[in-house]
Subunit: 327 residues, 2 copies
């Protein structure tokens, strides 16, 4: 009963924000979206009989590293991870179930990705944890078969380990519920209570307007500063994100992604992580995201002091570029 | 650092109670002991190469049902559950890794079980969640390679989902840590905070004496009443548990188990669950514990009202026995 009321609060929040269709959908709690990722893989692949080949789990590059590390660690007779999604585009053998992780907006590059695998054997797990107005324009409510959200990316309380899945199909919901039940016997009630309180606080700020306006302003400014830094660089570039109409803000809004997806453009800078490391900047290696090592991810989700320091070091690095020195 | 202090509190508690050797051991948090069960299976089986046969996971009957349901659901190339442990006693093929769940005291029958599988290929996961003075005599500190505990069975806060593993081997600890990390990205900090406070409260009551004396008294009385009820029955019997010297209470203490393992003795009462159900008594079927269906488990962990009602209905059932009517 308490869980039912909480689920209705979550539905109300999605309705106010306009980022997901949740009425008439099943909601399942998880220990962060992390637990729900493998619960979904498990549920989508457990249906088929053991004589079929295992379901193949895939994601377009660049993808969130945990999809690979988690799926590989928990590999079963029913599913396995493969790195090369392009082999399966328009090329399904008709027998193998395909499970695609779609992060939208994407971690690391903030793009509003859509599933690339189509056909009756292809299923998508939409990781929607960044689909909130502080990180992205919300052009329309998402209505995917499986959508994942988390308190971590909504209010920042990653340590509470609380996420939820929005699921269309009842049988799939039941299988995911069994997974969570046998994995951890449900979700910590302490974490649930914390998340319930947090969502109530989000509502109190002018029905979410306060936190999302605050979050968007902070993240937009960081993105602008970062772009200004790289605008004079030929050595480094970051992804382009277009301004877009947002149904929550009722206007075209400027980009404000959680991460910068940085590319080292020089032929010799194959190890972009090393290039930044030498300048005392910690990034995450592109290879973790299935990409070339001339890419890295920089997190813009940090304290202001920490961000200012990052920007200062990046500015220094850019100003040292030969072409700029000689300008 | 905070986690380190918390771990030292846990070590201090085990030392005061005298139920486990934890100094010089690794401690890993989990979302209840539930998560740590499969983490241990995973870690114990992930070491061997894929050309070997999968590790076989076993438990002596009667065993806690989750060992089977969880291991079957998460079955991988590396491990599988088998029901018949006796096939493997003194009969190891020398190639197959054996992983034995040992619950001590046992759920459902409260016995201080020891591993029955021996030899270099046999590993045991000791589920010690009931090894506290309210449920059992503590003859000596346990010093098993892997021991699991939980706040659920220590203070009753099952909903917090907080457990811990005490592990001797560093490499095994690291593999279990990776499992928890990729499964749920660690344990909810809200649950950790709750558990930390609970353990501090346990200490406040005369270094644990208060809660364990209270718990033992309540559970002992329930066990005595139940035994009195069945002492006049030929239709039903419950397990025998001997009084034993307890290092915590410094005296021989009377039994006070968490569950009664009830047997329907009459030839025709093959469905013991059904016999009790007809008398409005809810039990758990013996078949779930790998046992004959003439066994059931009755939980003594319930509110006093609920226990009194259970006892009243059991008394009625026993008094209806033909032999008693005719006495």
């Amino acid at each position: 009963m308490a869980a039912g009321l909480f689920k209705n609060n979550i539905r109300k929040l999605h309705q106010v924000v306009g980022n997901a269709v949740t009425f008439g959908r099943y909601i399942l709690f998880g220990e962060g979206s992390t637990q729900l990722l493998n619960a979904a893989v498990h549920a989508l692949s457990s249906n088929h009989n053991h004589s079929s080949p295992p379901s193949v789990v895939l994601a377009s590059v660049p993808y969130y590293p945990l999809y690979e590390s988690q799926t590989v660690l928990f590999e079963s007779k029913d599913f396995k991870f493969e790195r090369n999604i392009s082999l399966w585009k328009n090329n399904s053998d008709g027998r193998t179930n395909l499970i695609e992780f779609v992060t939208s907006p994407n971690n690391p590059d903030g793009q509003l990705n859509k599933a690339v695998l189509q056909g009756p054997n292809a299923k998508a797990i939409y990781d929607r944890v960044y689909y909130w107005p502080h990180f992205t324009a919300v052009p329309a409510p998402a209505d995917d078969d499986i959508m994942l959200f988390s308190i971590s990316k909504l209010t920042g309380h990653a340590g509470s380990r609380f996420g939820w899945a929005v699921i269309k199909d009842e049988a799939l919901f039941e299988r995911m519920k069994t997974y969570v039940s046998l994995n951890t016997m449900g979700v910590s009630r302490d974490a649930q209570l914390r998340a319930l309180k947090l969502i109530n606080v989000v509502f109190q700020g002018r029905r979410g307007r306060e936190i999302f306006e605050f979050g968007h302003t902070i993240m937009r400014k960081r993105w602008e500063k970062l772009n200004r830094t790289f605008s004079v660089s030929t050595r480094f570039s970051v992804q382009k994100i277009a301004s877009q109409y947002c149904n929550f803000f009722h206007r075209v809004r400027e980009p404000s992604p959680a991460y910068a997806w940085l590319k080292c453009e020089r032929e010799e800078d194959k190890d972009c992580y090393g290039v930044l490391k030498a300048a005392n900047i910690i990034s995450r290696k592109g290879s973790l995201f299935g990409a070339e090592s001339r890419y890295v991810r920089l997190s813009l989700l940090r304290t202001q002091d920490d961000f200012d320091l990052l920007l200062q070091r990046l500015n220094k690095l850019v100003l040292e570029e030969d072409n700029i020195k000689s300008m």
